[in-house]
């Protein structure tokens, strides 16, 4: 795979769709940060699964931060991603960190200035939002999430196996109408949003 520069990664993520997929694949499989994150988690008694989970969530967090316009662009992207992964580790495995190397971690945490501007939803919050959106159905959820990540209608059609972009466009419209209805019928979603915006 051709290496991406930081600017190319940022542009691909902002453009979304297949370009985002490729940049994400590069970050996940070929980023120099990968080994650093795995070593970081292993050295703090995390398992392989923990390390994978943290690295994947770091990438998600980076993507959402760039797409949400919250990425400030100071320093290298790899360092930023590493910082995000470390913060995610602290957040999720605070207890382990306290037990193992509390003082050392605390010093790092105090010195570290690049906190992620975009904090991922916690697993329980993701589940809560997902259940609020249950009435949408799996297909609609996927269509709308792909659209949110700037996939073109052609890409959505190909991803979901539709015969044409016209089908994808129509499906997206129906799903959006359904989502608007759900928002009307479930004021708790508005309360959920208030926590984040």
């Amino acid at each position: 795979m051709v290496p991406y520069s930081d600017d190319e990664i940022i542009t691909a993520i902002q453009n979304g769709g297949r370009e985002l997929d490729k940049a994400m694949e590069f970050l996940y499989l070929h980023s120099p940060c990968r080994e650093k994150v795995l070593t970081f988690v292993f050295s703090r008694n995390g398992s392989k699964e923990d390390a994978e989970d943290i690295f994947q969530d770091g990438i998600r967090s980076l993507i959402l931060s760039i797409r949400g316009g919250k990425y400030r662009g100071t320093g290298s992207l790899q360092n930023y991603l590493l910082g995000m992964c470390k913060n995610l580790w602290f957040k999720r495995f605070q207890k382990i960190a306290r037990d193992m190397k509390y003082q050392q971690e605390q010093i790092w945490k105090e010195q570290h200035t690049e906190d992620p501007e975009w904090i991922l939803l916690e697993k329980e919050q993701e589940e809560e939002l997902d259940s609020l959106l249950n009435a949408l159905g799996d297909t609609c959820k996927k269509v709308l999430r792909l659209w949110q990540l700037s996939y073109s209608m052609k890409e959505i059609a190909s991803e979901l196996g539709y015969k044409s972009e016209g089908v994808a466009r129509k499906k997206k419209r129906l799903c959006m109408k359904k989502l608007l209805e759900i928002l009307d019928e479930n004021p708790e979603i508005k309360n959920f949003l208030k926590k984040y915006y």
Partner: protein, 247 residues
Amino acid sequence: MKTDDYYLDLIEKYIERKDDQETQVKFEEELRKDQTLANMYQKYLEAEKVLELSAGQLLKEKLQAMQAQNQPKASIPLWRYGLLAAAVVALIIMIAGLGWKGDQVSREEMLETYIQAYAAGPSRSMGEKEGDWEMAAQAYSLKDYSAAIQLFNQVKPENPRFIESRFFMGNAAVLAGEYSVAIPALKQVIEAKDIRFSNAAQWYLVLATFGMGNETESQTLAKKILNDPGHPYRDISRDFLHDLDAL
């Protein structure tokens, strides 16, 4: 009368064409004058925020798929390559067959657009003797619709959940493309007038008759839904009829 589609078209054009000064000015003027548009735009922005928060889940799924693909794979026995080759040949024959039926493509596209699983899914088992029900519900949730059809079909008329089982059998049959199985089951649900399922059964019957190629009946059934002001499937039926006219 301005429809939801009219407003959504305006909003999406406004959002997508940020560089088009004329569209921007026109929309903003309209926004000040038309309260319905203002309300719809507000809701649309909320929907975008919901999707922004929830898009992370799709990224996670994609990353997990990458992880699975990059794990060492067990070697595939040679006979499986034979099966794979046979499947590819069958697929090529199927695609070639479809190519001759040019008019089916747009009908299939319509079915792809409108057919979707019943979001609520079957309710869970409540008694010890409901093992079959549990299996049927599980097959449905795992999208094994052929198994779900068979298992729901085993529920006897004396079972208090008989109508529910007919509904999910009909629904699973629509999802599996077995429209001739779906139609009698859904009709039974409509005749039973069970308020929990009769509205949804009417909608799935529209799809099943359309899937069977009976467009006239499908149109009549969709119009019946459209003429019922409180019907929860009214809006989607309107879209369906619109697409049917355009076929």
